[in-house]
Symmetry: C2
Subunit: 654 residues, 2 copies
């Protein structure tokens, strides 16, 4: 019976994804020039992903060997399973996404709903696979290994490894291409965005896919897998009632069904609001999950189901509240974005000051929500309640990632429509979809960070219960030292990643300038730029730049753990979680607010496009780019990977 | 004998300050126009300080009454003593500083050394009074109250209250005036900085005094007083050996003598380096203190003096290292500042991205130094060792504040020389002094923050030892919730203060624009602007804006303490310390680095003044202004005031 609730939904999701993929294959691909551009984006994206996985594979094989010798075969194999499943999710999901971009542009010829529907269905493939393959990997490992928790932690580490590299590499790629292409194209050569004469334009579109699609998928796959693992682990440690170990996986199974059902509710209402359509899908999924959770809670815990059930609802409530709060801080119609736009009137400096202020402020309500979530779920069912709330929150990752992956697809569709000079009505539709994609990307980032924070806290609880005879007392100097070093790690990681984008963008700028200089007839449109060269250069730069920041947490945890001991390491973990949570929240919300403040001005406010205020807003957007798409999201895997490694090495610490 | 080591240095410092003040009185005040401007700055500064103290007095009287009823008369009186002593330090120190500005400009006619010497001596009055009145207040209260620790904590709260208002009000004032004056003057009216036609120019000079002089004095007075208090408290709690209670005050007495001696070593060497002269004074003071500490350690602890003595040396070492690190991150000749300048070539956005990156990176080494300081001093003598290291670090505040107060004096002197059109050679000297003043301001901020962090950790230890039967276990959800709320408080505080500067600067912009519009002949130089109106408007705006952020920590601590209890409050304290320490470090170093990156370009690099790179660097400087002079420094009192209030209310918590 357990098996059925877990594996039937997994099978369903995989079959449904396949059906969607086949349906997408049959949709018209558009005119020859559209197909050509789409092909270039596909090739660039795949080339990047292949190279990224190759690099990670080297690291993974070394680590797998080390794990095999120290922790045994089961853990090493699970580690590989985690890595491969995560890579597979990103691979398949992105494959579908990069084929859907031109088709979305083509569907826009038929109207808003066909285009929305196509882009969302393509995004759903990634979304559903995240949860289906995540649950399959965790539950499969659990059953095959006979409930070996160490193996599950190994699995989590494998997913973490892919995640940190994918987030970093993808994040650096997307922003280096974006910033570099804009700096030469818009500012120096004075040609519009997505102009086919710009040699960096394909790289820019590739970036959307490797960052927002593959990167986000790897991130949430990992969060999902480690949260399930932590839930199972805490269930086994605190199990008063039988069923608490398998229960997290049951929530996962139910939520997959809820997510699939939710996708059918993505429909335009009377107001033709795209955002409304996506939110309808999300809300439906939350409602279905809430109903389903009731039955599995009652099934697993019998008469004493209520506290556990309410804990799972707490997780869903945190999800809903995070979406609302992020929406408030990043959407054009509210005070925060408007205040940045208004500040742009007095110049670049004030735009940045108020943007930074909005980013910082945006952390307050999420902190309250997370604190309240912990408080309520702990009061209901102790630390296991907190774990269940986290699992519940993550369990709806399927629908959330679907909405998120919608973003890069519509972004690409807009670019293709622009480059192939589609008629006004088509571009209007792709622009509208693209604008909504920006908001959904911001909203899912808020969700991803809050869930990463909660997941990490649950992982920390697992770590704390594995460490025997140690209390992580804040009055102990070792704990304090660890805590300070933890926050320092977050700041150092932030500094490195921001600079990486700057350096990689510099490489792009040099290449684009070279092409403009050397290729005759490029500006006149008589010669074509060498898109592939630019793609290749960003790929190499991003891969190179992702290595050092990815190694920082690994080295940091090992150094603090083995030099200062388990107590200091506990402090470090909390320092990374607390420091990272706030930095990531402020960066992603702040970055999205800057982006939309620029769009708000472009809508004709405060002087509109080309005004001094607009120039200041462009500066804010440039700063916001690495904030929201590189550093901020990369902190997610950072705070989880440190906890996973700590769990792996805990038995060797004094 | 105890008495002598404490009170004789206090008397010495007060007498020496009086001698310096009288000597300054006799120095030539310069030409009539210089005196006139200096008078206007004096009046503006005093008017602001009076209004600030009046506002704080209202809050203080209410709080004193509340304290009297809940904690008794002794605590209430000590609270007032702390507030009055802090206010007095700021008042006298600023009074001397604002009289020394024109005299420094006048002395510059005679050469570099006379000007340096005069400005430094004037700064020394503030510096020596900080430690002399601080030690007098703490030691006096200790002896009069018969060693009543509660009274000492009351004293610390009084000092904290002045400090948070002075840092906030002064910080908002100085940057609102600076940013507002520059926005209209430099950008809109296209007239140079410090041009007498600009109606905001006096307000700008007033800001230097109320922010960098009075604000810094109040900040370090408080840190000094609360660190001594925490040292005495931990001495009484952990006292294995007699003498450990009075010992912190002995260190204070010795350091006052060391600081006075150090001031005599401020002399130009062969290279005529101003920075070298100031560092010579600082290093001499550190060496004298290290020697003096040996004798008082041996005297107080007899044969077992070594661990305590080494702990005190650890504190001095942390001071020296913080100075070196901050210098590296903020001085023009090193990689960080140069990298920001270089990034300015590609525009406003990249300048900001790299500046933010430098600010974040600049926290890593200080974190290592602080962690190492805690590790070593704890290994030597337990938590008492950490307290002694903090006291030793703070004990040299006298010489540090002297060097810091040098900054606003030379800044003003430069402004006066500019406004009165002094000959080239005079302005060259005042410019050179001013440039060094920028570095010393940054360096002392690094010191102030590191010492505030260490002091707060010692205060937290006192709090933890006062709370009976509670362990601040990081695996407890209450502690975690408190921790998250603590970091959230820092971010919210940061958001509020950044926005305050924006709003207050907006008020200044409106007034300056009005004067340019309404006063005929202003631009032609035939009519004079109404400086007083601008001063008045910044004063009102700054006082208004400082209230809300100052109330946040008070309300936050009371709410968490009484609603969630002592355990959650402990988490909050550490959250504020850890979150605040890093934010303050990154903001002050980042801000100073932006400032000097602009100066580096103005030296003729990357296109020099007027180039596109320079424009981008000006944007960075504008963002850096509230970072380094408002929000960053205001976090210092924030992290101490929450700990002091927690200590005050701890007996009422469950």
């Amino acid at each position: 019976m357990w098996y059925a609730v877990i594996f039937v939904p997994v099978a369903l999701a995989i079959i449904y994804s396949a059906v969607l993929a086949l349906w997408l294959k049959r949709q018209p691909a558009g005119s020859a020039d559209m197909v050509e551009i789409s092909k270039a984006i596909q090739e660039g994206s795949m080339a990047y992903l292949n190279r990224q996985y190759k690099t990670v594979a080297v690291v993974a094989v070394v680590l797998a060997a080390a794990i095999w010798f120290t922790l045994g075969m089961a853990v090493a194999l699970a580690f590989l399973v985690g890595g491969i499943a995560s890579a597979l999710t990103g691979y398949i999901g992105m494959n579908v996404a990069v084929r859907a971009n031109a088709k979305t542009a083509e569907a826009a010829k038929k109207g808003l709903f066909p285009a929305l529907s196509l882009a969302f269905r393509a995004g759903s493939v990634t979304g559903l696979l995240v949860t289906a393959l995540g649950l399959l990997a965790v539950a499969g490992t659990y059953y095959v290994s006979g409930g070996d928790i160490a193996a599950l932690i190994g699995l989590g580490f494998g997913a973490s490894l892919i995640s940190i590299f994918a987030r970093l590499g993808g994040g650096i790629y997307t922003k280096a291409a974006d910033v570099g292409t804009d700096l030469v194209g818009k500012v120096e050569a004075n040609i519009p965005e997505d102009d086919p004469r710009n040699p960096g334009v394909i790289a820019d579109n590739v970036g959307d896919n490797v960052g927002d699609c593959a990167g986000m998928a790897a991130d949430l796959f990992e969060t999902y897998a480690v949260t399930l693992t932590a839930g199972i682990l805490l269930g086994s440690l605190t199990a008063a009632v039988s069923g608490s170990v398998e229960f997290p996986m049951l929530l996962g199974g139910v939520s997959i069904v809820a997510s699939i059902l939710g996708t059918f509710f993505v429909r335009l209402g009377k107001k033709q609001s795209i955002m409304g359509a996506l939110y309808r899908g999300l809300i439906s999924s939350l409602v279905f999950a809430a109903i389903g959770f009731y039955f599995v809670s009652a099934y697993a815990f019998g008469g004493s189901y209520l506290p556990i059930y309410l804990s799972s609802l707490t997780g869903l409530a945190v999800t809903a509240l995070m979406v609302v709060i992020t929406d408030y801080y990043t959407a054009k119609q509210f005070r925060p974005v408007k205040s940045i736009a208004e500040a742009s009137k007095s110049g670049h400096g004030t735009n940045i000051i108020i943007g930074l202020s909005v980013g910082m402020e945006s952390t307050l309500l999420p902190a309250f929500v997370i604190a309240l979530g912990i408080f309520v779920s702990y009061a209901l069912a102790g630390i296991y309640g907190v774990a269940i709330a986290s699992v519940a929150m993550l369990s709806v990752a399927g629908i959330v990632v679907s909405i998120d992956s919608f973003g890069p697809i519509t972004d690409n569709a807009g670019g293709i429509a622009e480059m192939t000079k589609q008629p006004e009505n088509v571009r209007k539709i792709t622009d509208a979809l693209d604008a909504v994609g920006n908001t959904t990307k911001a909203v899912t980032k808020g969700y991803a960070i809050a869930s990463a924070g909660l997941a990490a806290l649950v992982l920390f609880s697992s770590y704390a219960s594995e460490v025997k005879n140690v209390i992580f007392d804040l009055s102990s100097p070792k704990v304090l030292i660890g805590l300070l070093l933890g926050v320092a790690m977050v700041y150092f990681f932030g500094a490195l990643t921001l600079r990486s984008v700057g350096r990689a963008a510099g490489a792009v700028v040099d290449e684009i300038r070279r092409q403009f200089r050397e290729i005759k007839g490029l500006m006149e449109g008589t010669a074509k730029p060498e898109y592939g060269r630019a793609v290749d250069i960003v790929t190499k730069a991003a891969i190179k730049e992702m290595i050092v920041p990815a190694i920082v947490p690994i080295v940091g945890v090992l150094a603090v753990g083995f030099l200062l001991g388990a107590e200091a390491l506990g402090g470090l973990l909390i320092g990374v979680i607390a420091g990272g949570l706030f930095m990531a929240l402020s960066m992603t919300a702040g970055g999205a607010a800057w982006d939309n403040a620029k769009k708000y001005i472009e809508d004709g406010n405060f002087g509109g496009k080309g005004s001094e205020a607009h120039k200041a807003a462009v500066t804010g957007d440039t700063v916001g780019d690495p904030y929201k798409d590189t550093t901020g999201p990369a902190i997610n895997p950072l705070i989880k990977v440190v906890n996973i490694i700590a769990l792996l090495i805990v038995r060797f610490l004094h």
